[in-house]
């Protein structure tokens, strides 16, 4: 078991290193292949209307004329030991986990991401719980009452949920539920520590919108898994023991169904934690996703790079957690190597 954990941890770290390398290459190497000169690259790091001197200064400051390996080394060194940028006369300090520095907003990337993390995390966790519980519940009921009106209705709604993008459902919800009918307050973020009630109130609609999309998938997956499980021989054994149908369904059939669901939940949650781009944008929540959108519209490379790495980090972490939880759910995975 210990080796299993260590191996998984090692694999996770390795994966992060590879992601860093690939992301770095996308932003620093690929543009050169596409024929960008060092000067053009440097332009992206300077403010608007740069002078040739400013560009030259940027090239030197960022070391853009250095070999790519050196640049990557510097970047990685920055993550562990921090970095300094000479800027005009002064030196800019980018503290230890330095994932870059935005020369458009004159801010370090990492603290900016951290500042927005509570918003995104609140959104992701709240929505995650709703879609997980809601999706599974609907899926179980649908499977047990297969072919009933509920089943057909639920699956039709689920199909709609999977097909409709958030900028559609979200805007629709805003228009009707908030503005026309006033069922929900205007979405927004209030820190939980300040006002737990306001936190829920402000995030409820974004949660539901984001959860709708995912719950639909989970409901379909659960239903399919349950139908398969209910046909297994061990379900017949459970019935032959004299167990009630409720126990047969909730104890014996649900558990094997949950195994694959936990896996996709880990992936989905990691993805959303790295920035629920559309949801944050639609509901004007100032989270990591929105930060990324701003950076992309402004071609703010260091921020894009930082946010991408951060997103990858969450996916790797969530997967790692799933890998570690998995043997608890399915004893057959409890290998002894």
């Amino acid at each position: 078991m210990l080796t299993y954990i260590l191996r998984r941890l090692g694999a996770g770290l390795l994966l992060l290193a590879v992601v860093t390398m690939v992301t770095f290459a996308i932003f620093y190497v690929v543009p050169r292949w596409a024929g960008r000169t060092t000067e053009q690259l440097a332009t992206m790091y300077v403010g608007r209307a740069p002078t040739p001197e400013a560009i030259q200064a940027t090239i030197e400051r960022l070391g853009l004329d250095q070999p790519i390996a050196v640049q990557f080394g510097e970047f990685v060194r920055g993550i562990f030991f921090g970095a300094q940028y000479r800027f005009g006369g002064e030196t800019i300090e980018c503290a230890a986990p330095c994932f870059g520095y935005s020369f458009q907003t004159y801010q370090e990337v990492f603290p900016e991401i951290l500042a927005r993390l509570p918003v995104t995390a609140s959104l992701a966790l709240g929505a995650g719980i709703i879609w997980l519980v809601g999706g599974i519940a609907v899926g179980v009921v649908s499977a047990v009452w297969k072919g009933s009106l509920f089943d057909r209705l639920a699956m039709a709604v689920a199909l709609a949920g999977v097909s409709l993008p958030i900028f559609f459902t979200g805007l629709l919800a805003l228009a009707f539920l908030v503005h026309s009918w006033g069922l929900f307050g205007t979405p927004g973020y209030v820190p939980f520590t300040q006002d737990p009630f306001g936190w829920v109130q402000g995030l409820l609609l974004p949660w539901l919108t984001l959860a709708f999309l995912h719950a639909a998938m989970y409901a379909r997956q659960t239903r399919a898994g349950m139908l398969e499980a209910l046909n297994e021989d061990y379900i017949r054994t459970a019935r032959a023991k004299g167990l009630s149908e409720r126990k047969v369904v909730l104890k014996h059939a649900l558990r094997p169904t949950l195994t694959p669901i936990v896996t996709i939940f880990g992936l989905d949650l990691g993805l959303v934690l790295g920035g629920a781009v559309l949801t944050e944008q639609v509901f004007s929540l100032n989270g990591i996703g929105r930060y990324a959108v701003q950076a992309i519209t402004q071609s703010d490379l260091p921020v894009i790079l930082g946010v991408t790495l951060f997103g990858a980090f969450f996916i790797v972490i969530c997967n790692l957690i799933v890998d570690l939880v998995y043997p608890l759910i399915d004893p057959r995975v409890r290998i002894h190597d």
């Binding site: 080796t3 054994t237 032959a240 004299g242 167990l243 009630s244 759910i329 002894h336 190597d337």
Partner: protein, 604 residues
């Protein structure tokens, strides 16, 4: 029917009818079945798949509730009217008054709960007043009762940590948790090896006597029930064609179907020579009836036509009886295969020898039978001969050529000489290819481009294995198990191989289908001079098809020789043990063997 007092009868089935409404009209799975089981008595229900025996056992448990099945007639189990009882009443009955043991122990336990949890649950659902620790003790007792070693430790294990036989014991232990009056075992040993099968049957018999429990044993194999029941019901197409005392039914069967069924059971005392003579005589008779043609009909015509003459088979049709003349077709020397097994906390790996130092020679037209239980290395051995696995040590020589480490490129032309027929006809045919495509693919792989030629060859071969040429475009799901195995045989034959390795070719089939497939294999051997390696765990089957037999255990050949001498005068203890485990049709002989097994076990 005898008018016994209700207290003495634990199961009474009266004119049971089970009907499944389908789109194409009603399917009558059971049509008027009646039987009784007295307290502590044992009843065997025997029939082929589709005879309605499993439907009957499901109906006894009331497990048809919630499905489309319509049940009429009377089912009374320990005073419960199963047909009319409320769902709640039925649940109180299941597991408490009547417990069921299912066919496939691998699938019948929940993979994600410990066996302890599953046993405890079985008790506490009916006895909620028993504490968890009390239930746990009871579970340990029950596991001990069915012969699980170290039950106090093993109770925390998961099903996948047990072998098939052990899982079946766990299922039986689960059935015993509430001291039921009746144990219903539906094909409890079909998925198990002979020796394990004998152990499980012995256990059921012992439990029945010690606990005075009624036993209903459902099986497709008369030999399985022979030694374990007092009364037997033979079912066919949903009806009981014969019912009576087991001795009477087996020694003086009245119904022709029972007689046919008895004839189909492979008997361990019938030798290869007898069987072959019988098969050939039957064939000749059939050929005569069909009007003309000398027998055996050389059925190579279709194949020769399409290749335009010189068939690889012609040289040796008819085959000479398995003799040791000339160069052997296959020579295996000190063959061994090891696998790395990881173990321990730090992943130290050790070598596990699946096959060790196996050597033999096999001549043209001969059949070598390999018997052994699962895990004995017989499948690994056949894979090495097929060169699906590269041997760790030793050599395989085919037609005098060393193919042990031949690279795949050079191996490919040789592949058509050695073909294989697999155990499970359901999963060894691609469900998305028509059987014609499945069979014809091999020809394409070997370079045949002419689609028409392939088609005619496949069709003539289909005819040869007892199917119809117009089956070409059908998909595997349209065929029964026996027909699928015929398809698999055709697929192996299409390349005109010299050697066919049959890996448990009949173990998934009913006895009568089994008999037909064995006949086919024997006819094909006569016609094409085929050489077989016949791998199986059924001793009787192996004896009837093999000239020589190798008995394998834990990767080694413990005994090898001429099949009659192995069966009549076994030298190794293991072979003796296997032979006493083989099910026999004579109830008295079965009881004698059971006593013999008990003695062997006591002796260690």
């Amino acid at each position: 029917m005898s008018e016994s007092a209700p207290a003495d009868t634990v199961v009474r089935v009266d004119d049971l009818r089970v009907t499944f409404p389908t789109m194409d009209g009603d399917v009558h799975a059971v049509k008027g079945l009646s039987f009784e089981v007295p307290a502590g008595g044992a009843l065997g229900i025997v029939g082929e798949s589709g005879s309605g025996k499993s439907v009957t056992s499901m109906a006894l448990m009331g497990l048809h509730r919630g499905t489309r099945a319509e049940i009429t007639g009377g089912i009374e189990v320990v005073g419960n009217d199963v047909v009319a009882a409320s769902d709640k009443r039925l649940r109180q009955m299941r597991g408490n008054d009547i417990a069921m043991v299912f066919q496939d122990p691998m699938q019948s336990l929940h993979p994600q709960y410990t066996i302890g949890d599953q046993l405890i649950e079985a008790l506490r659902v009916h006895r909620s007043q028993v504490s968890r620790s009390g239930a746990r003790e009871r579970a340990i007792e029950s596991l001990e009762r069915v012969g699980i070693p170290e039950p106090a430790k093993r109770i925390n294990s998961y099903p996948h940590e047990f072998s098939g036989g052990m899982r079946q014991r766990v299922l039986i232990a689960m059935g015993l948790m509430c001291d039921p009056k009746v144990l219903l075992a539906d094909e409890p040993t079909t998925a198990l090896d002979v020796t394990v099968q004998a152990q499980i049957l012995d256990l059921l018999d012992e439990l029945r006597r010690d606990l005075n429990m009624g036993l209903i044993l459902v099986s497709h194999d008369l030999a399985v029930v022979a030694g374990s029941v007092d009364e037997v019901v033979v079912m066919r197409h949903g009806r009981a064609v014969e019912r009576g005392d087991v001795r009477d039914v087996l020694s003086r069967p009245e119904h022709p179907y029972t007689r046919a069924l008895l004839d189909a059971v492979p008997r361990v005392e019938v030798s290869r020579a007898q069987r072959r003579a019988q098969d050939r005589a039957d064939r000749a008779e059939r050929a005569d009836k069909e009007g003309g043609g000398e027998a055996p009909r050389p059925a190579t015509e279709g194949i020769e036509e399409s290749t335009g003459g010189a068939s690889a088979f012609q040289a040796f049709v008819p085959a000479e009886e398995g003799g040791g003349k000339g160069e052997p077709l296959l020579r295996v020397n000190d063959l061994a295969q090891s696998f790395k097994v990881r173990g321990g906390m730090w992943g130290r790996s050790s070598d596990f020898w699946a096959v060790k130092d196996v050597g033999f020679e096999l001549y043209q037209g001969e059949t070598l039978g390999i018997v052994g239980e699962s895990g004995s290395g017989k499948s690994t051995l056949s894979r090495m001969i097929m060169r699906l696995l590269e041997p760790t040590a030793g050599t395989v020589e085919f037609q005098g050529r060393d193919i042990t480490h031949l690279p795949e490129r050079h191996l490919r032309p040789l592949r058509k000489q050695i073909q294989m027929v697999f155990q499970n006809p359901y999963s060894s045919l691609n469900p998305r290819l028509t059987i014609g495509e499945s069979i014809g693919t091999a020809l394409k792989v070997q370079g045949e481009r002419d689609g028409k030629k392939i088609r005619t060859r496949v069709q003539s071969l289909l005819e040869r294995v007892g199917l119809e040429p117009h089956h070409y475009n059908r998909f595997p799901h349209a065929f029964s198990g026996g027909q699928r195995q015929r398809v698999a045989i055709a697929r192996a034959l299409i390349l005109k191989p010299k050697l066919i390795i049959c890996d448990e070719p009949v173990s998934a089939l009913d006895v009568s289908t089994q008999d037909q497939v064995l006949r086919l294999l024997s006819e094909l051997q006569d016609d094409f001079g085929l050489t077989y390696i016949f791998v199986a765990h059924d001793l009787a089957v192996v004896r009837q098809v093999s000239d020589r037999v190798a008995v394998m255990r834990k990767g080694e050949v413990v005994e090898m020789g001429d099949s009659d001498s192995i069966y009549e005068a076994p030298r190794s203890d293991y072979t003796k043990q296997l032979l006493t485990a083989a099910p026999v049709l004579d109830p008295d002989e079965a009881r004698r063997l059971r006593a013999e097994r008990v003695r062997q076990r006591a002796a260690g």
